[in-house]
């Protein structure tokens, strides 16, 4: 088994849904000990995914949420009621043993609980504290609340996803929950490196709307440098794209119901090869150069679309890939998960064992490391599953003490 790169790291973790839980999930896959804390008083309902579909079978309830399992694999789970006096006494004992405290509550919640950065620092001087929320810890919108679609709307990500003449299509999922998780993991890891060098901890303030707004940079510069706004009467056409000089470049109908294929020609040579396949007017010399294709973009796109329409999406993908042209079928979940040889060979969908759900497949990690590769084998914790390990073995509480705290509603 590969060495665990982050085995020395312990994270006390309140972070939930995907933007928060997704960050600590990555560190857990590389061996960090992540102790997720949930409120026993409401069975962890602060995280709405805990008891939400999809479900593996007919069983329901807070130990059966399929998404929750996906986002919390390899973590330990404990219950602790932070609203109680004893909860507030126990929590600092966990912090004292931790390298990182992470949360994605609304701004100000940790201060109200009495555990803002200054208090955490008083408990553990070199603590790294990650707070992740929609608009950050300061500023006029600090009290505003968000979830993925709101973050994407504010940042310009929604606007820049769509077809000409249509409303914005946006992202059909919380893309920025993933983005928030990736940035959150990056910030924690960089802060660990800084602490390794200097002994110094810090407060990481992650505002998901700011993080998201870093992802549309070239459009921002076109405005701040050239004064050209992204907003226009016709809206954007992100399938045609404007990032790189490529034409044709689009998502085209393929044979079959709701079947599609994406093609991008990076060079005139790639177009020439595609034009020979398409034949007819595609061989028009006016289209031989990128400038010529851009000047006649609608006609060129229509020619390609008429050709793809009668062919299976994978037939087109394989034929064009044989010619060295970037092309990919728009894959449905079943196709990319169960039928794509690349993802299965990669080990992209590891099976975990969950104490209540049994065996379930989850997302893997899209990077393999030669010496400290990831491991995802244990399912997400049931509510309070590791109370005995964390409060008993780690904090040294007796079984009677734990039972008493449970009876009092603290655990």
């Amino acid at each position: 088994m590969a060495a665990k790169a982050l085995a020395p790291i312990r994270i006390v973790d309140f972070s939930g849904v995907l933007a928060g839980a997704g960050a600590t999930r990555i560190l857990a896959a590389f061996g960090a000990q992540v102790i997720r804390i949930e409120n026993p008083a409401n069975n962890g309902a602060w995280d709405p995914i805990r008891a939400s579909p999809p479900f593996k079978d007919e069983r329901r309830g807070h130990n059966f949420g399929g998404g929750w399992n996906n986002h919390n694999v390899e973590k330990l789970g404990v219950t602790l009621n932070m609203g109680t006096k004893k909860g507030k006494e126990i929590f600092p004992r966990l912090v004292a043993m931790a390298d990182i405290v992470a949360e994605n509550f609304a701004a100000g919640v940790m201060e109200r609980l009495g555990f803002g950065y200054e208090q955490l620092k008083a408990i553990k001087p070199d603590i790294i504290y990650l707070s992740n929320c929609g608009f950050g810890a300061t500023g006029p919108y600090q009290p505003f609340k968000t979830w993925g679609p709101i973050v994407q709307a504010i940042s310009g990500l929604t606007y820049t996803s769509g077809l000409a003449g249509e409303a914005p299509a946006g992202w059909g999922y919380s893309y920025m929950d993933h983005g928030g998780a990736y940035y959150g993991a990056t910030a924690m890891l960089a802060a660990l490196h800084h602490r390794h060098k200097t002994g110094e901890g810090q407060w990481l303030d992650l505002a998901c709307t700011e993080a998201a707004s870093t992802l549309t940079g070239a459009s921002i510069l076109d405005y701040t440098v050239n004064g050209r706004r992204t907003r226009s009467e016709s809206g954007v056409d992100s399938n045609r794209g404007n990032e790189a000089p490529m034409a044709p470049h689009n998502v085209y109908a393929a044979d079959g119901e709701d079947e599609w294929v994406a093609i991008a020609c990076r060079t005139d040579a790639e177009w020439a090869a595609l034009a020979r396949e398409v034949g007819g007017s595609a061989l028009d010399p006016r289209y031989a150069t990128y400038e010529g294709r851009q000047a006649n973009r609608d006609a060129v796109e229509a020619l390609v679309g008429d050709w793809t329409r009668t062919r299976g999406k994978y037939d087109t993908q394989h034929r064009l890939q044989d010619l060295g042209i970037p092309c990919a079928a728009v894959q449905q979940p079943e196709e990319r998960i169960d039928k794509d040889p690349n993802t299965s060979a990669w080990g992209m969908w590891p099976t975990v064992t969950h104490s209540a759900m049994g065996e379930v497949r989850v997302d893997g990690i899209p990077v393999h490391l030669s010496k400290t590769d990831w491991q995802i084998a244990r399912g997400a914790p049931c509510l309070g599953e590791h109370n005995d390990i964390v409060f008993g073995e780690m904090l040294g509480m007796s079984a009677e003490e734990i039972a008493e705290l449970k009876a009092e509603g603290v655990l």
Binding site: L6, P54, F55, G66, G67, N70, P140, T146, P149, A153, S155, G156, Y159, S161, G162, L163, A169, G170, W171, G172, Y173, Y175, Y183, T186, A190, H194, Q202, D205, E210, L215, G217, A218, S219, I220, L221, T224, N226, R229, S238, N239, N250, V251, A262, A264, P326, V330, Q331, Q332, R336, I337, P341, N342, T343, M348, V362, I365, P366, V367, H368, L369
Partner: protein
């Protein structure tokens, strides 16, 4: 440099796919040296250009993706160029490259070669489908990665005669780069703890596959397929539209409509404030809702009956309000009334928003050669003890070749390297 990575030297041999990874590290203080062919990176030819004049030093795409880096040229097709590259890697902590699988080995610059020179080296290879295995030789762009890897299936419109949509802005490449950066930093920590380097194989296709939220786990757990919907989550069960054109012609997103009586009272009060209660014909239903002795539940809505009618009126009232005020008024108005709604900004509008301005997010970057300073996107996170910052604008072509060659002890060879075209 005060950034968290100010002790690291990173060599970046990347074109469009991997440059974002180098930028993320450079803005955290790493000394990122970008190695380009003497003709320059292809992305230097990508529009838009400064004042719309095409030039290798004027691409705004290149500017954005290459802040805080130093830049040198080296022709790796020549042995003298590869020798210089080896010397550079010997001085480095990390190498990030996005060359086609097999290219580094062809040059004799693959991990086995380079780790012999520098056993502590962390080499991060970013490729479309991984360095080996099925599909590794396929061609890809940002568009085709997003199409094959899952995101495109979930994005688009309720009308499925329209094609599904690939979101703009190189998000496929950027997703691959986020994974490259996270795992590179994990390798850096492992090296901090043990002194050991290693090789990382980043698969961008796989990266899209695990950046689709429920589309993947809905299939993995329940074998169900999500379907795209305009401006909202693709789902197994269709949901109600959320995008509304506000009074000023910009879109807002209404999200989940409120279900608590107190919130419904707030909506009625808001209609009164704007002076449009009587115009909204269903206002009596809101009055009923404001006086309910319980919250409206999802189950209650599904059952139909009075609660469902009230909820329908609540949704309609949000749309009605949005149509009568500006998108910004709707955003701030809902949020300050404890409702989670948003405004669909275009990217340029973000840098003028008062919250972003007050937090100092828009970041001025000096371009001394032009005598101008421009606003760039700011920090993705605040790390006060080791601040994120843009240390300098993107390098001009070959701007740091002389100084870097001198640093790695090849200053004496500069003239001959220039004469043979190894450097520009």
């Amino acid at each position: 440099m005060t950034g968290a990575l100010n002790d690291l030297r990173v060599i970046e041999l990347c074109n469009e796919a991997g440059a974002w990874a180098g930028k993320l590290l450079a803005d955290m203080g790493a000394d990122v040296i970008k190695v380009e062919p003497p003709a320059g990176s292809l992305t230097r030819t990508y529009a838009p250009f400064y004042k719309d004049v095409p030039h290798l030093d004027r691409s705004l795409t290149y500017w954005h993706y290459n802040t805080s880096k130093r830049g040198i040229t080296l022709d790796l097709e020549q042995e003298a160029g590869r020798e210089a590259f080896r010397a550079l890697v010997a001085s480095a902590d990390v190498l990030i490259e996005d060359q086609a699988p097999g290219q580094m080995a062809t040059w004799g610059l693959d991990y086995p070669d380079l780790s012999t020179l520098n056993p502590k080296l962390i080499m991060t290879s970013i490729t479309p489908f991984g360095r080996s295995g099925p599909r590794s030789t396929e061609q890809a762009t940002d568009l085709t990665l997003l199409a094959g890897g899952g995101p495109v299936w979930s994005c688009g419109y309720d009308d499925h005669s329209l094609p599904p949509v690939r979101g703009g802005g190189n998000q496929g490449y950027q997703t691959g780069c986020h994974w490259a950066v996270v795992t590179t930093l994990i390798a850096v920590l492992h090296r901090d703890f043990t002194g050991e380097g290693q090789h990382l194989d980043v698969n961008m296709h796989a990266a899209q596959n695990v950046t689709t939220e429920a589309a993947s786990y809905q299939w993995l757990v329940a074998r169900e397929t999500v379907q795209r919907q305009t401006g909202r989550h693709a789902g197994v069960i269709p949901s109600q539209p959320v995008q509304v054109l506000a009074g000023d012609g910009r879109y807002v997103t209404t999200g989940f409509a409120p279900r608590r009586p107190g919130q419904i009272r707030t909506l009625l009060d808001w209609l009164d404030e704007i002076g449009i209660r009587e115009e909204f014909e269903s206002w009596p239903l809101l009055e009923l809702g404001a006086n309910l002795d319980h919250d409206i539940t999802m189950a209650g809505i599904q059952e139909g009956g009075e609660d469902a009618m009230i909820y329908g009126a609540v949704r309609d009232s949000l749309v009605f309000i949005a149509e009568h005020i500006t998108a910004y008024e709707f955003f701030v108005g809902t949020q300050s009334r404890d409702m989670q709604c948003g405004l669909i900004y275009s990217p340029d509008e973000v840098v003028e928003d008062r919250h972003f301005l007050e937090r100092g997010w828009p970041t001025p970057v000096e371009h001394p050669e032009l005598g101008e300073t421009f606003i760039y996107p700011g920090a993705p996170y605040r790390m006060p003890a080791s601040p994120w910052q843009i240390y300098r604008r993107a390098p001009l072509l070959g701007e740091h070749t002389t100084e870097v060659l001198a640093e790695i002890g090849l200053g004496a060879q500069e003239q001959s390297l220039r004469a043979s075209g190894v450097i520009a």
